[in-house]
Amino acid sequence: MRRLRAIFLTPAYTVTVGLFLIPLAIILVYSLLSRGAYGGIVFDWTTENYRRLFDPLYGAILLRTVVIAVITTAICLALGFPLALFISQSGARKNLYLQLVMLPFWTSFLVRTYAWMFLLRDTGLINTALQSIGLIHEPLPLLYNDGAVLLGLVYGHLPFVVLPLYATLERMDKSLIEASADLGAGPWTTLFTVILPVSMPGVRAAALLAFIPSLGAFLTPDLLGGGKTVMAGTLIQNQFTTARDWPFGSAVSLVLMAVVMLMVWRVVRTKGEGLV
């Protein structure tokens, strides 16, 4: 059995090491090297790339990334919790309602992002509709700003938050709600004093599922922010394409990874659950 198990593990190990870990190691090394004259890599060891992250310009980008991610997470949780609550109280239709939430999420992230471009553009549906009713005379600049990015991020990650919240509420001991009512608490009081505190661990896990992808987002700020909202993801892509500063891009990547792993480590530690 042991031989068979070793054989079965080999392909996955090879792919993971060769196509995931080694590339990351390369990036780690790059982050400590210097940019060549024509955009390549020169083997001059330096920590300059990491120091540049403290520049007000780049520091602001990183800060803005975290802030946007935090706000996105907060909104997702605020919007997602009531929805999860509704689904968990829907009796026989629970699965159907859950599917209705998850289904669009699993189709195409690109298309779902583009859909908002279609709605928010100057010539988009919302502006056209508002103009045709006469509410406005000039198109509102709904696209290509921080608000649009936020909207896109919330839209993109809301389903991913509803699922674990629903799972937590499902697993909750229903008799706690009954006990609360029995002792005289109304539905709103029960929600805030019993349901929310009890589901906190699940809320933390759900928050992670919104925070981490938002932190590393690229498509949303790129398409909906139009290059103006520069988040860490677009900064990295920029460094590896137009700016051709691979060492700096690598440093930003590694810092992003570090933040992600830190958040994951904190939640996994408190939850104590297995990894995969």
Partner: protein
């Protein structure tokens, strides 16, 4: 409170589905402006006839099929091995690959392929895209298949050994048939993830291996092309159907 929740839920569902529905509706719009001017299939016809789109779609399909095949096989074997006994390093690596931002995975692979180009003369192209897709899909396959394996009783494999089957025969004649729906579900998931990928693909694709998401991205960036609506609608429904099938299989 129940009525309040229900009203809120309606609003939430509208928020989640309206953008896609609107997109789909306007894909049938006769005019290219966002004013409804009658039903038409023009944009679909245009999309169908566009050679660039056709080639991109074919590329996406080919990449997704090959990457799915490889990822499903590799992932299923790994899931069985992890089910027998966990390997903390592999589990941790797979989990890390799931939480790593796509842009980071993409640029790291780009850097990696630079070196393979230097030493092995491997250029960017379909094969690099496929390799990249296999790499990030394995974790998804492992999760789905492992979950399915955990529903099996361990005595099942013991019974097979007991009756005279070797470990390999047990895997082929007993374990695999028992988890087949899970494997199929994992494959469908991997296909969807691969077909829709933009970030990583755009970084490691060569000049002549454009995929459908790359074309859609370019069109979206340029603005107002209703053909995008048509392709988008098609993609959403096709992938949606796959995901529904995958869910059904996981429940069997």
């Amino acid at each position: 409170m129940k009525r309040g929740l229900a009203a809120y839920a309606v609003a939430a569902y509208l928020f989640l589905h309206l953008p896609l529905l609107v997109l789909a509706i306007f894909s049938f719009n006769h005019s290219r402006f966002t004013v409804w001017q009658g039903f038409s299939l023009d944009w679909y016809r245009l999309a169908w006839r566009d050679p660039q789109l056709a080639e991109a779609a074919a590329n996406s399909l080919l990449i997704a099929v090959v990457a799915t095949l490889l990822a499903t096989v590799i992932g299923t074997l790994a899931a069985w091995a992890l089910w027998k006994r966990d390997s903390p390093t592999l589990s941790a690596s797979l989990y890390t690959s799931l939480v790593t931002p796509e842009i980071v995975t993409g640029i790291s692979l780009l850097a990696f392929f630079q070196w393979t180009f230097r030493f092995l003369n491997v250029r960017l192209g379909m094969h690099t895209v496929i390799l990249a897709h296999v790499s990030f899909s394995i974790a998804y396959v492992v999760i789905v298949v492992l979950a399915r394996l955990r529903t099996l009783e361990p005595a099942l494999e013991e019974a097979s050994l007991d009756l005279g089957a070797t470990e390999w025969q047990t895997f082929v004649y007993v374990t695999l048939p028992a988890i087949l729906p899970g494997i199929a579900a994992a494959a469908l998931l991997a296909f969807t993830v691969s077909f829709d990928d933009y970030v990583i693909t755009s970084l490691v694709a060569g000049v002549d291996s454009e995929t459908l998401p790359m074309v859609i991205y370019a069109m979206a960036r340029r603005g107002g092309n209703p053909v995008v609506n048509a392709i988008s609608t098609l993609i959403v429904f096709a992938l949606g159907a796959l995901i529904v099938a995958s869910e059904r299989l996981q429940k069997r």
